[in-house]
Symmetry: C2
Subunit: 292 residues, 2 copies
């Protein structure tokens, strides 16, 4: 492989890091994944990390996206305001060290509602660049912090971050529902029942307590509680969108969660489209090509 890599792409998140040896045509030649996310690294640890990546992949230039560019990361790359295109991101990269560029995130700053993203934007813009999704579309990126993202002509114009996955994790690990949500979570009858309840709820913090009451009053089986709770949370999340029947929802980067969000979109009368993986490296390569 040595000699063929043109640069190194790094998706440097809060808890994990993925690095890719990239050919000049955008082919991924080799990749690695580890737990050296920004929370595990001191600011002065980054130069050695970069040296190790260069030694491993046999090339010099590095382009990194994600939380590495946040205040908790290596070198802050200030947010670009929405609407933002790939070109604007490319022009606003921060040089963290010689031949190491960090891509900024995107902020909603002027509207009624502040919001931020850092890392997710490159997936969206990569999917559009690759032709896996239209340039004007609605996206959903399920995860700890689910993002609903709207694009117009290849620019990210609006987005909403929803703490759905984090709330599920907090409730499962702590508080009154802890110990009740350890069962399997998959699309099926209990998940769908939760989904319909979450969609109809209008009061998430009350509907979540119904899980405990339902268990005490034998209206919910203990083995079904986790799937039901996931349905309630995802249903309540999706139900806040009033545009799901207007156009397809492009789901990306959510792994198994994408299937669950697809079920929610379908319950609400919408059309989910699951976008294939690989959008992150496609996005980084498009950005690289603009800068090269």
């Amino acid at each position: 492989m040595a000699g063929r890599a043109a640069y190194i792409a790094v998706d440097w998140g809060t808890t994990n890091r993925r690095a890719y040896a990239m050919a000049s045509d955008g082919t991924v030649l080799e990749s690695m994944r580890d737990d050296r996310g920004v929370l595990s690294l001191a600011k002065d640890a980054y130069p050695a990390e970069i040296s190790a990546l260069r030694a491993r992949f046999g090339t010099e230039p590095v382009i990194a996206v994600g939380m590495v560019g946040s205040s908790r990361g290596w070198c802050e790359a200030p947010y670009v305001d929405a609407p933002a295109t790939l070109k604007q991101l490319a022009e606003s990269c921060r040089e963290a060290a010689r031949n190491v560029r960090i891509v900024p995130g995107i902020a909603l700053r002027d509207g009624r509602r502040p919001d931020v993203m850092r890392g997710e934007e490159i997936q969206i813009l990569g999917a559009i660049h690759a032709g896996s999704a239209p340039a004007t579309a609605l996206f959903c990126q399920p995860g700890t912090h689910n993002k609903w993202v709207e694009t117009v002509d290849g620019a990210i114009t609006n987005f909403t971050t929803v703490m759905t996955g984090e709330l599920f994790a907090l409730l499962r690990a702590h508080g009154i529902l802890a110990g009740m949500l350890d069962g399997p979570v998959a699309d099926g009858a209990p998940f769908r029942r939760g989904l319909r309840r979450g969609i109809a709820s209008g009061n998430l913090a009350a509907t979540l307590f119904e899980i405990r009451a339902g268990l005490l009053l034998d209206r919910l089986e203990p083995s079904e509680a986790a799937a039901y709770a996931s349905g309630v949370l995802i249903g309540a999340d999706a139900a806040t969108r009033d545009d799901l029947r207007c156009r397809p929802v492009h789901l990306l980067g959510g792994g198994a969660l994408s299937e669950l969000y697809a079920a929610a979109v379908t319950e609400l009368g919408g059309s989910p489209v699951i976008v294939p993986d690989g959008a992150t490296t496609t996005g980084i390569h498009a950005l690289w090509s603009l800068n090269a």
Copy 2:
């Protein structure tokens, strides 16, 4: 005091316990509070606890309310179905041991939505019995699990448990907002701003993320974040009621939280009434008198 106490009233909760030496006319002669809640006691520890209370207060009969009657407590007192009056609760007490009665909770079992209460009902019915609130009214009991309770002619007919306080505690201790919500929480400009945002939100799990985005984008001061977050949660809670302008909201048992909920009710055009403390012993005494 010895010789004057007619019985012992115990409000036996999950983490705390309050016990009262009661005169036959309902006067509280002496009281104590400790952390011997049901989570800290094994089932076989209760007889010794009762003996100690009898030795301390110099009387034999005990009437206990709260989680002591749950499956995690001493002796399960099955839920009475709503609508339920004080008389029905008195008739459904469980005899846990000689001269020890445990008062049941109330369940919503047949409707669209399951819900349960255990301990809160005695406060409500006590306040009505004492004349501190009308027999047909809307109540709010702020706490870890806020309860909205409707009564008709002295019967609890409907109620909704909202996990507002628990969500605040989980977010403050764990997850992405941890460390950002340690500031003071009181009624004031940041709390009111959060209240209005929570009332208008319609998507609690998204509005909570705005706290992080607002801090990153300098739209929220770090010292104001906890009060703002509390406002968002309480505002979203209160805004799910569509009946706050129809009649006064009687707030009870919430301590400092009652002031914050009163502010939310006022923001929504309603009329809050803070009910004086003491409803629990009044309720237990009314129940005792029915049974004596």
